[in-house]
Structures are given as structure tokens and as C-alpha cells.
């Protein structure tokens, strides 16, 4: 039996959220997708939900709490909560300063440049 997986998609772009959800639906019914439109609401959910997600897809440019701020707060969370989470930064920025900064963070598994492809999803979900 395939283990159920929960994904956090943190992005202020509603269309992107919709597309990601549709894409993930095609990878199987065991995947649950939760949408957050800024870092603050995702952070709150992380602390309140009984079980942490397996994967986080994090955008960088968002109002209220952007990706960098989320990463800072994320680092402060207990390791027991974050150690099994795979965190991917997903951004349309091709500024090497953003890419380098994200990849240097040990909590970030990878930097994915938008648009995110089916192949990307397959790799992430493995």
C-alpha cells in the first residue's frame, strides 16, 4: 500500500496553485495538496497540524511573509518537526543571487525554476 503524502504549496499565485493541484492529482489519490498564499499562514499550519507534510514547495516573492522570511522562521522550528520534510524553493527568479542564497541553505533540498514540469514533480514525489 502506498503511504499517503501531504504537500504544502506556498505561493501567492492562485493560477499556479490551481495548476499544481491538478498536476499532483494525476500522480495519484494518495497525495494531498494544501495551498497557502503566504509564508505566515503556512507557518501557522505547520505548528497546528497533527502531522507535518512530507514536502514543501516554497515560492520566494509573496506579500506579508515572503519565502526568505519563511525560511528564517522555519529554521527556528524544532528539528523533530522539520527533519523529515523535503523543502523545495520554486521561483521564477533567475537571479543567481537568489539561487545561490537558496542553495546555500541546508534546509533547502533544491531550487526549482518555474514553470515546474511533470518531470520535476515525479522526482520530488519519489
Amino acid at each position: 500500500m502506498i503511504k499517503a503524502k501531504t504537500l504544502f504549496v506556498i505561493d501567492d499565485d492562485a493560477i499556479y496553485q490551481l495548476i499544481t493541484q491538478k498536476e499532483l492529482e494525476q500522480h495519484g489519490p494518495h497525495i494531498t495538496c494544501k495551498n497557502y498564499y503566504n509564508g505566515a499562514s503556512a507557518l501557522q499550519a505547520l505548528q497546528e497540524l497533527p502531522e507535518p507534510p512530507a514536502i514543501i514547495l516554497l515560492d520566494l516573492n509573496m506579500p506579508i511573509m515572503d519565502g526568505w522570511e519563511f525560511l528564517e522562521a522555519y529554521q527556528q522550528l524544532p528539528t523533530s518537526l522539520t527533519q523529515h520534510i523535503q523543502l523545495y524553493v520554486v521561483s521564477s527568479s533567475i537571479d543567481y543571487r537568489d539561487i545561490d542564497r537558496a542553495k546555500e541553505n541546508p534546509l533547502v533540498s533544491d531550487f526549482i525554476i518555474k514553470p515546474i514540469t511533470s518531470t520535476n514533480f515525479s522526482q520530488i514525489l519519489q
Binding site: 499565485d13 493560477i15 499556479y16 490551481l18 495548476i19 491538478k22 498536476e23 516573492n61 506579500p63 506579508i64 515572503d66 526568505w68 522570511e69 521564477s92 527568479s93 533567475i94 537571479d95 525554476i113 518555474k114 514553470p115 515546474i116
Partner: protein, 504 residues
């Protein structure tokens, strides 16, 4: 016994003997006197020593003759013996001295020889004189034809020599004689160069060391001349200070070229800085374009795929609607970016003299309704700089954006107060500051992104993140800079340096 007695003397014979001896004595006594007076008058005579020995020798000989005469009455044989032996000693010494002197005396030239020598020397001297004169003429020509101004001063620092270049430079028909024996102050009391020149002459005289300096003199109004002056102390044969040689070079052309060169280098540096800046701006723009176009285009591609694979008409319609939403957004983004591109292309847009007060008042009128609704108080102080030469549409847009932002991001806890002020920095940069008491921005978090496109920092429905981006690009395209100081919940100050590039 006296000689008269001891011998057979006739009266005549005896007296002849005596008179002869006494005469000899007188003559022998006079000769040395004459010799000594000769020696006294011709002080430079060589062989002085031998002259004295000769005199002694003759005196002693004379004395023997005197005693010979006396002996006719007094038989002083013992005294005579002592005198004779002393005379013998003096004679022998004189012989010895004379003998030693002969080779030296042989070297003495004869009078005719001396005359020949004199003539030869005179001819030689004349030749040397002619040569010297020629050389002096050559030297004078060299000094006179030299374009540098050359002057020689004596130990009292009065002119000893001036060359033609000085006379030409001074003009008004002055001659060399007008200079010689006079001080520079006496000759050129009103020349702008004189004070420094005399001061440096004094320095050379006091410190006995060369001096070199440069002066920039405005000889005729509007035309600057540059002179390089060298002063060298002169010494006589006893190494005592004897005067100063002053050489003044006109280095105006060199200096003007140098100034021109420096100006060109500075222009190039400015250009290079502008290019660096332009490259940086373009790179930023490339990032912005990429960032703002990649997302919606990626979304469009994904939506098309979803549309194609949709099974029901309702689903297809849903994805189509979403596609139109993305297209609308994309359209807006492209419009915003086009605005920025047109700013960057309009660097030669016409400038005009604008009053800050007037432009601000017209913008206040434009959004008077929003200002009234917010209850905003707007104060100004444009006394530091009342006007600026700037494109009107840009200043309109910049002031409108600052005004709109200050009203839009006002604190909910207090009515907005907005203060505009201008001043000019020491370097001549015109600065505008706009201070509000609004929400403020956390610069530690957002400082690097505050002027970026589509960045919003407050959860404000009508914030599109375009205003400050456009403002920044307008200011930058005209060589200015915008920065911000802010404290969250206290307020923000936006600072615009309008013409920073001009004073780089």
C-alpha cells in the same frame, strides 16, 4: 807702536796711504747703504740674501781699511787681527752663498729674452681675448634666442643681466639698461608675479639652495599663463654667494594640454561609471522581465495542457477562464515593463525650470479627494531649493507617486502628515525628501526590494508594486538616485538625489 814710527814713511807717502784707506772705507760704507736703499725700494727683488751678505762683506772690507789708517797713530794690531778674521769669515760665507746661487742666477732671463717672452704672451693673451669674446657672443646669442626668460642677479639681488625673452615679455620698449642694477620691485612693481619672485630670490640667498616653483598668472583678463621658475645660487671663486640665476619657462601650453587631458580622463571615468551603471540597470531589468514573464507564461503553458486534457465542457470552460485571467495579468505586466523601457529610452527628454511648490500643488489637486478622505496634512519647505531643471512629466509622476504612497500606506491609528523639503548638498546635488508618519517598511526585510517591480509590502488590495519601480527608473534614467529611511509604524522618508551623476 804707531805706524808712523815703525817704518820709513815720508810725509807725502804716509798721508797718501791714509787718505786712500779712508776714501776706500767711505766708498765701501756707502755702497752697502745704496744697495740697501735699492733693496728697500724694489721689494720684489730676488736674491735678497746674497745682497745682504755682499753688503756685510763690503762693510767689513771698508772697516779693515779704516783700521789700517788708524794704525798710523794707534797700534791696534789685536783689534785688526780680530777684524780681519771676521772679514775673512764673512767673505768665505759670501763666496759659499754666491757659489750656491750661481745655477739659480743662470736661469734668470736676459732683458731681450724677457721682451720676446712678453710679446709672445701679449699675442697669446690677445688671441685668448678674441676667443673669449667670440664665446661670450655665442653664449649671449644662445641666452638671448632662448625662449625661456633668463636673468642673472648679483649678491644684492639686483639685475645683472636680462635676456631678450624678458624684454619681449615685459614689452613697452624696456631696454636691458632699465633693469641692470635695480631690484625686480623697482622695475616691475605691479607685475602679479613679482612678489612671489622676490620671495623666492630671498630664499635662495638665505638658504643657498636652488628653488623651483610654478605660478599661474592671469596676465590679461581671462587668459591664464603658467610659468615654471628655477632659481640657482651662484658662487664666486672663494665659494661665497655671488648672485642668483633665474630661469622662467612659459609652460602654459603644457599645462593647458594637461588640464584638457585630465578633463578627458575625468569624462571617460564618468562615461565608464555611467556604462557600469547602465549595465547594472539592464541586468536588473533582465531579471525583472524574466521573473515577471516566466510565471504567467509558464502558467499559460500548463493551463493549455489542462485545457487539452479536460474531459468535460465545464472543465474546459474553467481552464479557459483562468487562461484569460493570466493573459490579463500578462498584458498589465508587459504594459508596466514598456513604461520602464520608454523611460530608459527617453534620457534626452526636454527639461524645463520647474517650481517644486507649483508641481506639488498641481499633484495635490489631482488626488485631492483621496487626501481629503484620509484627512492628510501636507507641509512643505522648499526654501533650500525652490526649483529644478527637470522633465515636467517625470517630476509630476515622481511627486504624485510619493504623495499617493504616503496617503495609501497611512497608519490606521493617526491622520497622515506628509512633509516635503528640498536642499542642495555641498557637492551641488539637489535633494528632495518626503517624510510621512505612515505604516513604514521593515527595511531589514524589504530594503533590497522596495523599488522592485510587483513587490508589495502591505496586505493592501490596490497595491500593485509598480509606483516606486517606475519612480526609481525615472530618477535613475536622469542620473539620480532614490533611497529610503523607514521605521515600521513610525513612518518613512524617501530621499531623492536628482543629479548625482553630474557631480561624479
Amino acid at each position: 807702536m804707531p805706524r808712523w814710527i815703525c817704518g820709513r814713511w815720508s810725509e807725502g807717502h804716509g798721508w797718501l796711504y791714509i787718505v786712500a784707506n779712508i776714501s776706500i772705507f767711505i766708498a765701501y760704507f756707502t755702497i752697502p747703504l745704496l744697495l740697501l736703499s735699492f733693496l728697500k725700494r724694489r721689494k720684489n727683488t730676488s736674491f735678497r740674501g746674497i745682497f745682504i751678505w755682499f753688503s756685510l762683506f763690503i762693510v767689513f772690507c771698508g772697516l779693515t781699511h779704516l783700521v789700517d789708517a788708524i794704525m798710523f797713530w794707534y797700534p791696534v794690531y789685536r783689534l785688526n787681527a780680530i777684524l780681519l778674521s771676521t772679514t775673512a769669515l764673512v767673505s768665505l760665507i759670501t763666496v759659499f752663498k754666491l757659489y750656491k746661487l750661481i745655477p739659480k742666477a743662470l736661469q734668470l732671463k736676459s732683458l731681450s729674452e724677457l721682451e720676446n717672452e712678453l710679446q709672445r704672451r701679449t699675442v697669446e693673451l690677445e688671441e685668448t681675448n678674441i676667443l673669449l669674446h667670440k664665446r661670450e657672443l655665442g653664449f649671449k646669442t644662445l641666452v638671448n634666442s632662448n625662449p625661456d626668460m633668463i636673468a642673472e642677479f648679483d649678491a644684492k639681488l639686483t639685475y645683472k643681466f636680462v635676456n631678450k625673452a624678458i624684454l619681449n615679455a615685459v614689452g613697452s620698449g624696456r631696454k636691458s639698461e632699465d633693469f641692470i642694477g635695480k631690484t625686480p620691485v623697482e622695475v616691475l612693481p605691479t607685475h602679479p608675479h613679482t612678489t612671489a619672485f622676490v620671495k623666492n630670490l630671498q630664499h635662495v640667498k638665505t638658504h643657498l639652495e636652488p628653488v623651483a616653483y610654478e605660478v599661474n598668472t592671469e596676465i590679461t583678463p581671462g587668459s591664464n599663463f603658467y610659468f615654471f621658475v628655477e632659481m640657482i645660487p651662484l658662487f664666486d671663486e672663494n665659494n661665497r654667494f655671488d648672485g642668483v640665476l633665474a630661469i622662467t619657462k612659459n609652460v602654459t601650453n603644457d599645462r593647458l594640454r594637461e588640464i584638457e587631458l585630465n578633463a578627458n580622463i575625468s569624462d571617460l571615468n564618468k562615461l565608464s561609471k555611467r556604462l557600469d551603471y547602465k549595465i547594472h540597470t539592464l541586468q536588473e531589468f533582465a531579471y525583472i522581465v524574466s521573473h515577471n514573464l516566466r510565471s504567467p507564461v509558464g502558467n499559460l503553458v500548463s493551463l493549455q495542457k489542462l485545457f487539452d486534457t479536460a474531459e468535460t465542457q465545464a472543465e474546459k470552460l474553467f481552464f479557459a477562464t483562468k487562461t484569460f485571467e493570466v493573459i490579463d495579468g500578462l498584458n498589465n505586466t508587459v504594459k508596466d515593463l514598456s513604461d520602464v523601457v520608454s523611460i530608459d529610452q527617453n534620457t534626452h527628454i526636454e527639461r524645463q525650470l520647474l517650481s517644486f511648490e507649483e508641481v506639488l500643488q498641481s499633484q495635490i489637486t489631482t488626488i485631492s479627494q483621496q487626501i481629503q478622505q484620509a484627512g492628510a496634512t501636507i507641509t512643505t519647505n522648499f526654501s533650500g531649493c525652490a526649483s529644478i531643471c527637470y522633465p515636467k512629466i517625470y517630476l509630476d509622476s515622481i511627486l504624485l507617486n510619493l504623495l499617493t504612497n504616503a496617503v495609501k500606506y497611512a497608519s490606521p491609528h493617526r491622520p497622515p502628515t506628509i512633509h516635503f523639503t528640498t536642499y542642495v548638498t555641498q557637492k551641488g546635488i539637489i535633494v528632495l525628501e518626503c517624510t510621512d508618519n505612515g505604516l513604514g517598511i521593515d527595511l531589514e526585510k524589504y530594503g533590497h526590494k522596495i523599488f522592485s517591480l510587483h513587490k508589495t509590502f502591505h496586505n493592501n488590495a490596490d497595491a500593485r508594486g509598480v509606483g516606486l519601480f517606475i519612480t526609481k527608473n525615472q530618477i535613475q534614467s536622469l542620473g539620480g538616485r532614490i533611497s529610503v529611511k523607514s521605521t515600521p509604524n513610525v513612518g518613512s522618508t524617501f530621499i531623492i538625489h536628482f543629479n548625482e551623476m553630474d557631480v561624479l
